[in-house]
């Protein structure tokens, strides 16, 4: 067994170059890497790559060290996003991060991990951006139209630095649509700040549970007060509570909430703002009509 072990070690040593050898040429990267959280791979024996941290990602480097040819070493920066993700996730999958667990890559075949994370800290870019403004700047680089929504007057205050994209979204994947972060166990991330809307309410307003906050709100930004999807609250309500005969359960395709609990004269301004009376529109503790 000793012989087998020695042979295996000799083979490993044969194909690996060691981080010191890498540093001889890549001096600047090596110095930057010492300030990088990944440097723990170099120093911690438990992680299995002590002394070979560069090769943990770049693969065996002995051949490259001899030939100095770029083609003789793996460059994750030039790999496809899928290959990048596979490489990084071999260590980081399921890892808990401040924005939620690392479930997967960012998009179907979109930017890989190095699209957002600067592994070596080149150009003074950190491995992880942490300041809200920096996070928003990074995301806005690709999500231009979303960032444009935040330039509207009524919005979550990202442009003001109050929040960042990752306060609501987990860029590493989520079991909720739009990569929404989850709060508690399996509830939308919105409830992390708006806990009073979590419930369970004695009388629920079904769309909150069935289609989520975005059924009525534009969470990124809106030209409409209260960040609603329409210019006046009554139109948001009337699109579902239309008073029109809806298909009933006996028919093939019933829908919910077509008939409102009361008929109001919408010509009267008092009845044109539904939430003036239905103040508990997100759900009520004591009233089925959501009035209190």
């Amino acid at each position: 067994m000793l012989l087998v072990g020695m042979a295996a070690f000799a083979q490993t040593a044969d194909i690996h170059a060691s981080s010191d050898k890498c540093a001889a040429c890549h001096d600047e990267i090596s110095k930057n890497f010492e300030k990088n959280p990944h440097h723990v791979v170099e120093t911690d024996k438990h992680l299995g790559h002590a002394g070979f941290a560069c090769e943990a990602c770049h693969g065996p480097g002995a051949k490259h060290a001899d030939s100095l040819a770029a083609s003789d070493i793996r460059n994750p920066g030039k790999m496809t996003p899928d290959e990048q993700n596979k490489l990084c996730l071999s260590c980081h999958r399921n890892e808990r991060t401040p924005v939620g667990p690392v479930a997967d890559g960012h998009a179907k075949d979109g930017p890989g991990c190095v699209g957002c994370h600067s592994i070596h800290g080149a150009d003074r870019r950190p491995l992880m951006v942490k300041k809200t403004a920096d996070v928003n700047h990074l995301c806005a680089g690709c999500h231009q139209s979303v960032w444009a929504d935040f330039q509207r007057p009524y919005k979550h205050r990202l442009a003001e630095g109050a929040m960042s994209c990752v306060d609501c979204h987990n860029p590493h994947g989520s079991n909720m649509a739009e990569m929404m972060r989850v709060s508690f166990a399996n509830e939308p991330g919105c409830f992390r700040c708006h806990g009073e809307m979590r419930g369970p309410f004695t009388y629920e307003h079904a769309p909150v549970r069935l289609e989520g906050c975005a059924a009525c709100h534009e969470p990124h930004g809106s030209a409409n007060p209260r960040m609603l999807i329409r210019q006046e609250v009554r139109f948001v309500c009337l699109e579902c509570h239309s008073n029109l005969p809806v298909p009933q359960p006996s028919t093939a395709h019933p829908t919910l909430g077509g008939v409102p609990p009361a008929f109001h004269d919408l010509r009267n301004p008092q009845f044109q703002n539904c939430t003036v009376c239905h103040v508990r529109v997100h759900g009520s503790y004591v009233d089925g009509a959501l009035l209190r």
């Binding site: 690709c142 139209s145 109050a162 769309p207 409409n224 919910l256 409102p260 301004p269 008092q270 004591v286």
Partner: protein, 658 residues
């Protein structure tokens, strides 16, 4: 806050003590934001920025300004970031970040302490002003009394999160955390007593505490996270009024003037929940990876509610007026909520990837309540007791399979199918013959897309999905729809990047009782120029055009005629940011940025919103920088001109970096 400023002052003094010759004297040109070389034995490195904001105005509607911008005049700690060098054996890294303290509406602080392989402690704190005094009435031509919004609040949201992770990076790593979120302040809400409603003052006070503990295990390609947590919730809001209030219904009702003379309304809500999380990921074979989640929570709430109202009210059930009404209610709600998902990714051959995803979400809310109402009028009393129960059931499922194939080394195409199905049961309308309403979800969606990369210079992707017919929960849900999202970026010369983004969602429901036609479109283009990595010049130009068009039928109960709810918005957003940092001359290297954003929309609610800005940074000495920033905020609502505001702001600050 004072303590923080004091600490900040000490830090400034401490780091200033170590400061040697200024850059001007030594002749070195300190780049404004570049970290200054730190002496090897320096225990602290980082930056601190202190300043003062001057605000002119706001001119126009100050309440809308506060609801939209909310920046005020005064001294500010703009930012504080520092890292403490390793102190053996306590920690290897200690980082502190703080921003916007001293009266700004959004304060944040974060501390991270870590000793490699032993522990990692993070603490995060946010304090956000949540002010809303936006007129939310439907008809701007209504009487002046309605111009004061009847739903507003002057509140703050505070959230804290502390987490301690033991043995980070080891094969087994336990962790513990606590987080708290609270909302508190004052506001205006409405007390409704048919047919009138009365704006009254209310107090808001709720909080949620979450405790969690878990363990992360990783060994031989298997990653497992097990977490158990619990939450407590309390809501002690209330409304009160002691002044005579005629409400919105100012005419007499059957000869009587309705009014509210006093109100006391109190909620005492208590809730708790336990939850369980299990996340598993594994690579059982070199070509197969599997991950799954199981999530379960069981939140429950108990409500105690009392209200006492005096005035002149009308009771439709008896067709009589009454002068005093008191309500007592108790209620319980319980909502077990189970979710699970499974993701399998197979790579049977090198170029092919098959991803299968399945998820389920089951939520059953069952509640019971007892409401006792007492109405007093001259010489008589009415007492009613109303036991009630309610239900909301949701069973949602999704299955998706998608195949990715690398057609060329730079080109990946993918296609697949998603099937969503489920059922929901909710409380029926009082006008409906059914106490419960049910609906089903059945939607089959086709998926297709492609992504292309050429070296590091070109990246393009497109994703398309479409569904026809099926069943849905609501009239406005996706029915016959298609959605396209495409992005491209091209680095056509060194330092130059051109990018574009196109999104369109088209949804319609031809059912005669619905007749929904919805389109949402957004097109963006951006051009950036960062020669030499933007060290001396950077230019960013962005433009987005968006369009939302929605038409759906409803029945106007006033005319009993079918009406069209038509919504149209054509929005244009432009952002420009030009940053100039000329080469230093005699150690003087100022940096000048200007630009800003504008948004203008036409349609159902035309709006113009301008935010130009200009910033000048001048290094005064080694690591010391003077910043000044001018901002202008201007909102113009063409249909609601009384909401307009304008504000000029100037922030001057000193930033010290080492």
């Amino acid at each position: 806050m004072r303590t923080l400023l004091l600490v900040a002052s000490f830090l400034v003094a401490a780091v200033a003590q170590d400061q040697t010759a200024p850059a001007a004297a030594s002749g070195s040109a300190a780049s404004p934001d570049a970290p200054v070389a730190t002496p090897a034995d320096s225990p602290i490195s980082g930056s601190i920025e202190l300043g003062y904001r001057f605000v002119q105005g706001p001119l126009g509607n100050a309440d809308v300004y506060r609801s939209t911008v909310d920046l005020s005049q005064g001294p500010r700690l703009i930012g504080l970031d520092f890292t403490v060098q390793p102190v053996k054996p306590l920690f290897d890294r200690l980082e502190v970040h703080a921003s916007s303290w001293g009266g700004d509406p959004y304060n944040a602080a974060r501390i991270e302490v870590e000793k490699n392989g032993l522990y990692r402690l993070t603490a995060d704190y946010r304090n956000m002003a949540y002010f809303d005094f936006l007129p939310s009435f439907a008809n701007p031509a209504a009487s002046a009394g309605s111009l004061l919004t009847e739903s507003s609040f002057d509140t703050r949201i505070r959230s804290s999160d502390v987490e301690l992770e033991m043995l980070p990076g080891r094969w087994i790593s336990p962790y513990f955390g606590w987080s708290r979120s609270s909302w508190y302040g004052d506001g205006i809400t409405d007390f409704t007593a048919f047919p009138n409603n009365y704006p009254v003052s209310n107090s808001i006070s709720d909080s949620t505490n979450t405790f969690r503990g878990g363990v992360q295990i990783q060994s031989h390609g298997v990653h497992l996270v097990l977490e158990e947590g619990g939450t407590t919730f309390r809501d002690d809001q209330g409304a009160s009024d002691t002044t005579l209030n005629n409400g919105d219904y100012t005419a007499t009702y059957f000869g009587e003037q309705l009014n509210l003379s006093s109100l006391s309304e109190l909620y005492r809500v208590r809730g708790d929940s336990l939850y369980t999380k299990a996340l598993l990921a594994a690579n059982p074979l070199s070509w197969l990876s599997v991950s799954g989640q199981f999530l379960y929570a069981d939140p429950s709430l108990t409500t105690n509610y009392t209200s006492l109202a005096n005035g002149t009210f009308f009771l439709p059930a008896t067709f009589l007026f009454y002068n005093s009404g008191s309500d007592i209610a108790t209620a319980d709600a319980e909502m077990p909520h189970t979710s699970g998902s499974l993701n399998v990714e197979a790579r049977p051959i090198r170029r092919l990837r098959i991803v299968e995803y399945w998820s389920t979400d089951r939520l059953h809310n069952a509640t019971s309540s007892l409401l006792m109402e007492e109405y007093l009028t001259t010489g008589s009393q009415f007492l009613t007791t109303n036991p009630d129960a309610d239900r909301l059931v949701l069973n949602d499922n999704e299955q998706q399979i998608e195949v990715f194939y690398d057609l060329l080394p730079n080109l990946t195409v993918h296609g697949g199918e998603r099937y969503e199905w489920g059922d929901a049961t909710v409380r029926g309308s009082p006008l409906s013959e059914f106490p419960l309403e049910s609906a089903s979800l059945s939607r089959n969606t086709g998926l297709a897309g492609a992504s292309y990369r050429w070296k590091q210079h070109v990246r393009a992707s497109a994703d398309f999905e479409a569904a026809t017919g099926g069943e849905e929960y609501f009239r406005t849900s996706l029915h016959n729809y298609w959605k396209l999202h495409s992005r491209a970026q091209w680095d056509f010369l060194t330092g130059w990047r051109l990018a574009g983004d196109f999104f369109e969602l088209n949804n319609n429901n031809p059912d005669p009782s619905v007749n929904l036609q919805f389109t949402s479109r957004a097109e963006s283009a951006s051009l950036s120029w960062l020669p030499n990595n933007g060290r001396n010049v950077s230019v960013l130009l962005e433009y987005t055009r968006s369009n939302v068009n929605s038409n759906i039928l409803y029945l106007d109960p006033g005319t009993l005629g079918t009406a069209l709810s038509a919504y149209l918005e054509n929005g244009n957003t432009a952002t420009a940011l030009i940053d100039l940092a000329p080469k230093a001359v005699h150690g003087f290297a100022p940096r000048f940025s200007f630009g800003g954003s504008l948004f203008t929309s036409a349609g159902s609610q035309p709006t113009d919103y301008y935010q130009p800005t200009a910033r000048l940074s001048i290094p005064l000495a080694k690591g010391v920088q003077w910043n000044s920033e001018w901002r202008w905020y201007s909102l113009a609502e063409r249909l609601y001109a009384f909401e307009d505001f304008r504000s000029n702001q100037l922030m001057v600050s000193l930033k010290y970096t080492r």
